[in-house]
Symmetry: C2
Subunit: 359 residues, 2 copies
């Protein structure tokens, strides 16, 4: 046990839980895992995603990778364990964060959502490098303990993920746009084509690369989607309304043979698509920003989600506590090009900060 | 000249024209090409897509791979050449076929549309194997000469394409569903996300593989799309209306947290997507169907588009003329499993046919 980086427990050893287990074991962690289905846990063990099947009261990090509907109950149970470690941090991986943040109000809980997946469901699709370069959203709240957040963040970074902090509400509004509504739209396009294929059998033979790309996500098992849609209904409905409005505007342009207007819409989309960020290489010039903060949990959420809102990528994060214990310094490392915007936004919230360029 | 399979001319040497040139040269054809932009033609020559720049009155096949708006004029000029070869066949590659079929009524013209492309535009993206396994739609009409069709079909097959015959109207209705509306939808999704990213800079960092897949086609140059939308407006508007209706039904299900209904819609889409045909391997059992036909052009279009409607893949096609010249036999090779359906449909149109299983 002295050789390991630390001990982690994974509850729910499917695709995501299994990938976390594989990734952390490779990186020196001792991983214990369990699943509501003992066959799945045994399979995770056999695939090398776990060191042991079971619970681990000594784990300092617990990933709850169960279906969304059971996260609050499972995480609540873990946080209520009698001999809970002082440095315990519990996180989850569910795709909608607001209901979970409402259901679990605990300094040691930090909601999370890795923006990575695979069409291959289940632990057999698990991959220890699944998260390399992927965005992993964390949703700290006013009660989140800053140290718990910093420790979890470091673990996720070690898996190769780019951590972005957002409020639960913000997360849910954004994934409606980049994940939930695109998924529903892919399904609608696929069903529309399938319906027409009943009359015209050759239709699907005309489906070239573009159609295949657009409908690929619709091939996945629908299991999680009814819950996702129910839990994030407000944001999804608003986004569907916006999409239908935009499609209506396009329809008017098509009906009017408005070539110029159509060109503008498509050219704007082409520009936006081409500038879609890819997994960001670490910038050449990094700057360390030090923010003296009162040693209160809400401050961490405020500052990290501020960076998320600004699109400022945090490459490292640490909390230095003062000896007195009532003040600390939040040390964050960002792209040198982001420093001015970040410091101005911090100042607007009343935080003074200093910046130092790293070699 | 004796060594070559034959002589072909390509008008418009961009991505598609260049790919045709590369593919046919590799397969032994002599390829002459020209482009409205002499720099593009010179580039095609330098890349090995052409043997020579210019026109070739001796070409037996001419591909018009110019922008859609100039196809009727260009093809008309070619068909009106003074010393036109008796066995000349002219085709085009435009994405909307009805206006072209209306504009060019000539036995030697067969409209075409290769369902292949590339995000890389221009002759520098040309690839002689671009059409391998791709569907290539041909749109014979009542005036199309059966021999011209059969010769063109054989050339396209030699490029590796799977040829499907559809009426121009049928083609346009189907591509609205599998290409045009998906493209517009991808652009709408991208623009919606881009608009939201103005307020929430981190939104685009949350765009994982699914969103990238769905918006990939929107990255392409919009150049052809205003014409496509204008020329195929009726079918696109009808398809957009159907999609908006379906999205509205999904919205109601989301708003009502109708988990069962959502599951059904998504499961149906998943099944349909998983059974989307991929480039079909040649079936193990092929059957030759012989159809005695009057030697009139409309018969060819009727029978080949019937097969397209039925989703029956034609693997080979030949016309045997009788000595008298007023009757012939259309010989088509299809999957043995398709024979019964095809023969029944032929009988319903008044054609008697015989089938013989090939070794």
């Amino acid at each position: 046990m002295d050789d390991v980086v630390g001990r982690v427990e994974v509850v729910g050893t499917g695709l995501i839980g299994g990938s976390i287990g594989l990734g952390l074991r490779t990186r020196g962690w001792h991983v214990t895992g369990n699943d509501a289905d003992p066959v799945v846990a045994a399979r995770a063990l056999a695939l090398g995603a776990l060191d042991a099947v079971g619970e681990d009261p000594d784990a300092s990090v617990v990933f709850v990778a169960t279906p969304m509907s059971s996260v609050v109950e499972v995480a609540g149970g873990l946080l209520g364990r009698r001999h809970r470690r002082a440095d315990l941090v519990v996180t989850d991986v569910a795709g909608v964060k607001t209901p979970i943040a409402r259901g679990i109000v605990d300094p040691a809980f930090v909601g999370g959502h890795p923006m990575a997946g695979s069409e291959q469901a289940g632990v057999d699709g698990a991959d220890g490098e699944l998260f390399v370069g992927a965005t992993w959203v964390l949703t700290p709240t006013a009660v989140t303990d800053a140290d718990a957040y910093a420790r979890l963040r470091a673990v996720l970074s070690s898996l190769g993920a780019e951590v972005v902090a957002l409020s639960p509400q913000q997360h849910d509004a954004l994934v409606a746009v980049v994940s939930h509504v695109p998924h529903l739209t892919a399904a609608a396009l696929m069903n529309l084509a399938d319906r027409m294929a009943e009359q015209h059998a050759s239709l699907l033979r005309l489906a070239a690369g573009g159609f295949r790309d657009m409908t690929r996500v619709a091939a996945g098992a629908p299991d999680i989607w009814p819950d996702v849609c129910a839990e994030n209904a407000v944001a999804i409905v608003a986004t569907l309304d916006a999409l239908v409005d935009d499609l209506g505007a396009l329809r008017r342009r098509v009906a009017a043979a408005d070539r110029t207007g159509l060109y503008e819409v498509l050219e704007h989309a082409a520009q936006a698509r081409r500038s879609l960020p890819t997994a960001a290489a670490r910038p050449e010039r990094l700057t360390e920003v030090r923010v003296p903060v009162p040693d209160r949990p809400g401050v961490l959420a405020g500052i990290t989600t501020l960076a998320g809102d600004l699109g400022v990528n945090i490459y490292d994060l640490e909390i230095a506590h003062s000896a007195e214990g009532d003040r600390g310094v939040l040390v964050i490392v960002v792209d040198a090009d982001s420093v001015v915007a970040l410091q101005e936004a911090l100042a607007a919230l009343g935080f003074r900060s200093t910046a130092r360029q790293l070699a």
